[in-house]
Amino acid sequence: MKKYIIQSIRLTLVLLVLLCVVYPVSVALISKMSKGKGGGEKITKNGKTVGYALLGQSFTKPQYFWGRPSAVAYNAAGSAGSNKGPSNPDYLKEVQSRIDTLLKYNPGIKKSDIPADMVTASGSGLDPNISEQGAAIQIRRVAAARKIDVKKVKELVAMNTLKPFMGVFGPSSVNVLKLNLALDELN
């Protein structure tokens, strides 16, 4: 028994060096060669960081495309979903009010145009994307708020749409932050 205890302690110490120093530090060093240099890829505008490519942001102004509802208000100090069950009455009321808000601010759209992702919170609360349909229902509002041609906005949406992986795997999506940056650059 005593032999096993001593062997266990020594083996633990040796493995701590291998698994917690050698392994992670070498990965961290190699990751310096990646796009984000191992700290997450940043997006800069006029030399200032305005966001991270992978993290969604809160957009509420009419001239920006809006992202999905978030349980953490897009504050990336934390992350969480709403954890509301599918039949929770409070939750269903909340969804209804999100539908009403979208209908109010996007004149001309029908209820049946609204895709589920625009009225439901994401798993992380930091989802950077919306569906193509989620962008489509906002095009007229954004164009009107910015007083630009609807066609131009449509073009930008198409340019910022990410096709399925290798064209055949998974859904397509629109990155809201990149789309909004592209809009800002127009003006």
Partner: protein, 570 residues
């Protein structure tokens, strides 16, 4: 065909393309045959030397278990104190506080046991030191513990009669050097080059396009996410686990993480067959497990793709399916596939929030964890399956009126008793645990805990009950996922799930290893015309029936009160 479906079909096929050769490779590694990774031998020799281990020393099954339990106790003690004092230790750039003793108790058991139930949030609850030197460390060694225990079990059946079952330390170290570490290294690099942070920088801050100040938690996440999947641990670096865009940046990384968590459990089944030179048996087991996977996956897919009926009534479009708690870049199909594999395989990482899954999906997730052996966790999945096998052998033996045998060894009263105890343990822990929780919730709502019992549940009615049932089931299965709406960081949940995890981990390792050790030591009886063959389709069907009947009898009433009731009332 719909691109979401092609995505999961491709993921499944790629998994098998990698897992099957990996299984053959593992059989050779543990048999000590020549493999291409033998260049790592000097590293292993170095580790043995520094630890004072002589791998030539043979151990019987009792000594194997002693070694296994001893080193696990060392980790429990070491980790507990680091968690409590993490605020006073270095490597804490965000200044996170030390854990309360009850939370530390829960967390350390959870990670030692390969469960990774998390009652804290990675961003605010632990330091970088804890993340790497305790949690990630345990993700490696707990997976290796499970694999090593499975290899001991392999050893018992390789030769006709065996009492010397090899050296535990050798199996354990090789699991790391020949399997977990190299794969993790490759995977961590794939993740970091696709956007996952991997460096040691602390929190960042920026001003968003609309002018809000936003804080961003970062840190060495890629390294941990790699092993959390390969080792079927599941404990995330960030609170939202693999739904977080940093942990799982794209559909491609999602495929990588899905493949990573399934390959070792599948490979272990294949390795078993090649190791004991009974390939047909391995393929039979693989067949039962894979059919089990599809029987849970298909109904889950259909309910998630159909969307939430309550939202459909409101008149919106759910073109691709239910989206609450899911990420746009994965979509409902890949989320449902993930929810299936993460529950049958005891990974417990999530890329969508299970609490918000459709009510029937909750049934399939719970059932996956209750059965806990369709592939199952690293090494331990096969051990769980072995218990079902022994029960099936026993029942078949009774049906045909012969002494039950498994691989040429008589299965007698002692082995059956152990198998019966292990079989009864899961329903006891899950149902008694949930019953106690429900009792406290209804009768002691105002108890002065960090989260008062009346505020435990995030959802009313049947779904609230499901949250408690899920927590206990996940703990017993050493899964670690949760219906995360549950207010679980308080004295009751920390202690109760800690105990359930501990028993649900170590007894189901001790039991099967003991049975295998006892059987292996018995005289070998050559096969005759009267032998019950365990590698036939008939016997596979028998095992499947045993799994279904045992679990249906144990859990149907609880499922009926939770997700099934929710489904039928809405």
């Amino acid at each position: 065909m719909n691109t979401e479906l092609t995505g999961i079909i491709a993921t499944f096929l790629l998994t098998m393309v990698i897992a099957i050769p990996l299984g053959k490779y593992l059989a050779k590694v543990f048999a000590g045959e020549k493999v291409w990774t033998d260049f790592l031998k000097p590293l292993e020799t170095g580790i043995y030397k520094l630890s004072g281990i002589n791998v030539k020393e043979q151990m019987n099954w009792k000594q194997q278990l002693k070694a296994l339990l001893t080193i696990n106790v060392v980790w429990l003690v070491y980790g507990f104190f680091v968690l409590i004092f993490q605020n006073k230790l270095p490597f804490n750039p965000d200044g996170n506080p030390g854990m309360t003793p009850d939370l530390a108790f829960n967390t350390i058991i959870s990670f030692v046991a390969n469960c990774n139930l998390q009652h804290y949030s990675g961003e605010s609850g632990v330091s970088y030191l804890t993340q790497q030197y305790v949690l990630m460390f345990l993700q490696f060694v707990s997976a290796a513990t499970g694999i090593a225990a499975a290899v001991v079990f392999f050893k018992a059946f390789r030769d006709k009669t065996a009492t010397e079952l090899g050296n535990f330390w050798e199996f354990f170290v090789k699991s790391i050097t020949r399997l977990l570490l190299p794969l993790s290294f490759v995977m961590a690099l794939i993740l970091s080059f696709n956007g996952t942070p991997a460096s040691y920088e602390g929190k960042d801050q920026f001003i968003s396009l609309q002018g809000d100040t936003v804080h961003v938690s970062r840190g060495p996440a890629a390294q941990m996410i790699a092993i959390k999947h390969l080792g079927t641990n599941g404990g995330g670096y960030f609170g939202a686990n693999s739904a977080h865009p940093f942990e799982n940046p794209s559909y491609f990384t999602n495929m990588v993480e899905l493949i990573a968590q399934v390959i070792i459990p599948v490979a272990m089944v294949i390795a078993f067959g090649y190791f004991i030179r009974r390939k047909k048996l391995a393929w039979t087991i693989f067949g039962v497990m894979t059919i089990g996977l599809f029987m849970l996956l298909i109904p889950m897919l259909s309910s998630e793709l159909a969307g939430n009926p309550a939202l459909a009534k409101m008149g919106i479009s759910q073109g691709t399916g239910a989206m609450e708690g899911k990420e746009v870049r994965f979509g409902p199909a890949a989320s449902a596939y993930w929810a299936t594999v993460t529950t049958i395989i005891s990974t417990g990482s999530v890329n969508s929030m299970h609490d918000s899954s459709m009510s029937m999906s909750g049934t399939w997730q719970l059932l996956g964890m209750m059965i806990n052996s369709f592939y199952g966790g690293c090494g331990v999945g096969l051990l769980n399956y072995f218990i079902y096998l022994v029960v099936a052998v026993f029942i078949s033996g009774l049906m045909v009126g012969r002494t039950p045998e498994f691989l040429g060894h008589k299965v007698e009263a002692r082995e059956i008793k152990i198998a019966a105890i292990i079989t009864l343990l899961s329903p006891f822990l899950i149902l008694a645990g949930t019953a106690v929780a429900s009792y406290i919730f209804t009768n002691y709502g105002n108890a002065a805990w960090a989260v008062q019992p009346k505020n435990w549940l995030n959802n009313p009615g049947f779904h609230g009950f499901s949250e408690m049932l899920y927590e206990m089931t996940s703990s017993n299965a050493n899964n670690g996922s949760g219906f995360e709406g549950l207010g679980d960081n308080n004295m009751f949940w920390n202690l109760s799930t800690g105990i359930v995890i501990f028993l649900g981990r170590f007894l189901p390792i001790i039991g099967p290893v003991a049975i295998a050790g006892l059987l292996g030591a018995k005289k070998f009886i050559p096969e005759s015309a009267g032998t019950l063959k365990t590698d036939t389709k008939t016997f596979a069907l028998m095992t499947f029936a045993v799994i279904l009947v045992l679990n249906a009898l144990s859990y149907f009433p609880a499922l009926a009160l939770g997700p099934l009731a929710e489904y039928f009332t809405h």
